[in-house]
Amino acid sequence: MSAAGADAPTPYRLYHPKWYRRRVSVWWWLSKPAYATFVLRELTSVAVAFFALVTLLQLRALARGPEAYSRFLHRLESPLVVALHALALAFVLFHAITWFNLAPKAMVVRLGGKRVPDAVIVGANYLAWLVATAVVGGILLGIR
């Protein structure tokens, strides 16, 4: 953690101990819709972590036996848990859509020296999403 110093205040702070800085409110991101969208998008990661933990709990229940698994399924039926999952779904869908739409900006793909158009990359992402959804859905709904 010693390297954290590399990102710490710039050296000229030393020579300007009273360097002027405007105070920014903790709520700065509410001042413009674009800022709020940005923070909301960052917060989708909380829903992602939440559902990763739910999946972990499901596996733990499966490891403990049939009773634990049916208790797990029963807990999912609580209205509070259903509401949490609905909220998490909204956040995860927001994450997915913004993630796929930004994909061409995060990674430039070249084929035969030509840049692949953004729309093609976005389209490929949505197609992969569709296939992944069909495969996972097919398996989880198909096994008995």
């Binding site: 953690m1 990763a52 972990l56 490891a63 999952h85 998490a88 959804t133 996972v136 008995r144």
Partner: protein, 115 residues
Amino acid sequence: MARPITPLLWTLFSAGGTLAAMLFPIHLVLTGLAFPLGLAEPPSYEAMRRLLDNPLVRIYFLVIIALPLFHWAHRFRYTLYDGLQLKHLFALVAVLCYGAALLGSAAAAYVLWTL
């Protein structure tokens, strides 16, 4: 964070973000809504255990738990820095976020290994 580790953390963030975007919606719709609301029948205990007998399925579950947790760690860390202006807690926030992701991944690996 030490410089040489930054690209690795960003790769974990990116891979976890892609996996969560591709796979979490369907898992969430089924496990969180369709099964509990009775719109579809959840897989039986035996069916899930048979599915998990396949090592590839165990690896799948390990990957879709661990990488999205690192995605969260990276993104949430910057949310705390910028949103709540916790820049002065740089090292502490990083240790807590990545530590939690590491702990969750280790727990997933343990559960899947001993299943």
